[in-house]
């Protein structure tokens, strides 16, 4: 297998007359963390959703694990079993216990054995310090705890690629840290991640590549140092100025 996990080439996505992605090209390698930054509405979320086929693109191509997502023989459910996704609003299942939330995908989608999955899920929950809360329902947890469970729910699928969509934006400022710490851990362990985020310091710390999007256009891409210390484009400078 080639080292390239995900490759976007001139991707175009429209919602009606509104062109949300205007020819985005991007590569993501194994064990690499790429952070997408940019104002709301710049197309970060849409780009993530195109990568796991929650949205279909209108132009260009997306190659995932060496296979074109445009190929009609591609099974979207199989794609999603290998690509984890975590949302801004957690979206834990309120009618299932924390443990069942984590076990649902591996057991029902991957058809793995319940007993094995249970062991693994409990280990993952122990890792985020929530093993004791495994039998409780999500609404008993704080926002930060819920989001960490949501991340663990994705990890239980053993994904080859993890997509994170502004996962700290809905959190109380005091709870952002615990979620970012978990993501930093994952990055250190070599998890391949594509992260849309507004947390610039976090991007600076963990990203191998930072990508700045503006109104659906990829304006600038580079190492955190290049982007944050020495942005080449006017609009990147303006954006960083505003979020600082």
């Amino acid at each position: 297998m080639s080292d390239v996990v995900l490759e976007l080439d001139a991707v175009i996505k429209r919602f009606g007359d509104n062109e949300v992605l205007r020819g985005i090209s991007l590569q993501l390698h194994r064990h690499e963390v790429v952070c997408l930054i940019g104002a709301s509405g710049s197309g970060k979320s849409t780009l993530l959703r195109c990568a796991n086929l929650l949205e279909t693109i209108d132009g260009g191509s997306i190659i995932l694990f060496g296979q074109s997502l445009l190929d009609p023989r591609i099974d979207p459910d199989l794609v999603r079993r290998h690509v984890g996704m975590v949302f801004q609003s957690f979206n834990l299942f309120p009618h299932l216990s924390v443990l069942d939330n984590v076990m649902l995908g591996p057991v029902r989608a991957q058809k793995r054995k319940g007993a094995d999955v249970r062991e693994e899920a409990l280990t993952l929950l122990a890792r985020i310090g929530l093993r004791e809360r495994a039998d409780e329902y999500p609404d008993r947890l704080s926002g930060g705890q819920q989001q960490r469970v949501a991340i663990v729910r994705s990890l239980a699928m053993r994904p080859s690629l993890l997509l994170l969509d502004e996962v700290t934006s809905a959190l109380d400022p005091t709870l952002v840290g615990e979620v970012l710490d978990l993501l930093t851990d994952l990055a250190r362990q070599g998890t391949t991640m594509l992260i849309a985020t507004h947390e610039m310091n976090f991007a600076k710390d963990v990203a191998h590549q930072v990508v700045y999007l503006d109104k659906g256009v990829l304006v600038e891409q580079g190492t955190p140092k290049e982007i944050f210390s020495n942005p080449k484009h006017e609009s990147t400078r303006n954006f960083l100025e505003r979020v600082r």
Partner: protein, 297 residues
């Protein structure tokens, strides 16, 4: 800081005590007040029944204890059908219809919301079905089924009991209503839940089964029970086919004895069947409301 005299609050200290008149209706006094008002209303009704020129005749026609009893137990010698055995027909009609409606309604909703291209013709059929059967009065459906199926002379379908035709008519109409109840419940599940489930690689069908339906059931139960309450009452319409259920038995008693007390007896027993259900529905709704409030706080 300067203060604009036009926009500052009044200089007077706000007075926070309720007026004396409204204090009369608080606490134990409230109980007294509600008892009195209830007695007054009941008194007015009784006064009308007793003081109206036709009051005595009215009371005899609808509330004669002897007639009430005879209509309830029946009298085989005089050919009077018992309301109590008629009531059993109502009960089995609505029990069977409710079970059928539950499954058919869910199947209809599921079909209408499926994405499979293979099911497209079924989706169109289901949409037409719900439109048609929510639009036709149940009474007409009862006639069409009750007179139509026997006239087909088509094997056992044309030789069923009148009450069975009633069950078919009730099921046809109420499945359409309940399908819409299920559909609304399914649509009420937030889209983020579906996105999360599909992102785990669950298929459309298992998302429905594991994520959507379990959450939809909570919102669906109160309106579902409401429909069941009207279904229970609507079993009375099957009397128009000649099926001897409670209403029909009461009518027979009325026309043979020139006394309508049986109608009151039948009404009371319909009430006895539906009131527990209405109370239960109200309690469920209150509980659901309390839970949602607790979550949003």
């Amino acid at each position: 800081m300067s203060v604009d005299p036009d926009v500052t609050a009044s200089e007077e200290t706000p007075y926070l005590f309720a007026s004396r008149r409204s204090r009369l209706l608080v606490g134990r006094r409230g109980v007294v007040a509600s008892t009195i008002s209830t007695l007054v209303i009941l008194g007015i009704i009784a006064a009308v029944l007793f003081a109206a020129p036709g009051g005595a005749a009215f009371r005899y026609y609808f509330f004669d204890p002897h007639s009430m009893w005879v209509s309830w137990v029946g009298d085989p010698k005089l050919g009077i059908e018992a309301i109590r055995s008629g009531l059993l027909t109502n009960i089995w009609m609505f029990l069977v219809s409710e079970v059928l409606v539950l499954f058919i309604g869910l199947a209809l909703a599921w079909t209408r919301m499926s994405h499979s291209p293979v099911l497209l013709p079924f989706r169109i059929l289901v949409t037409a079905y719900t439109d048609v059967f929510r639009g036709i009065p149940l009474l007409l459906v009862v006639f069409i089924v009750g007179y139509g199926l026997p006239s087909l002379q088509f094997g056992f379908v044309s030789n069923l009991s009148l009450a069975t035709y009633g069950v078919i008519a009730l099921t046809l109409t109420y499945s359409a209503y309940v399908a819409e109840v299920f559909r609304a419940g399914i649509l009420s599940v937030p889209n983020g839940q579906l996105l999360a489930a599909r992102s785990l690689g669950l298929t459309h069908a298992s998302t429905m089964r594991r994520v959507t339906l379990p959450q939809a059931v909570r919102t669906v139960i109160p309106p579902l029970l409401n429909d069941f309450i009207s279904l229970q009452k609507d079993t009375a319409l099957v009397s128009t086919l000649g099926a001897v259920e409670a209403t029909r038995a009461a009518q027979i008693f009325e026309s043979t004895n020139f006394n309508g007390s049986g109608l009151v007896v039948a009404s009371l027993f319909f009430l006895a069947l539906t009131i527990p259900m209405t109370r239960f529905t109200d309690r469920l709704m209150a509980r659901d409301r309390a839970r949602r409030l607790a979550v949003s706080l």
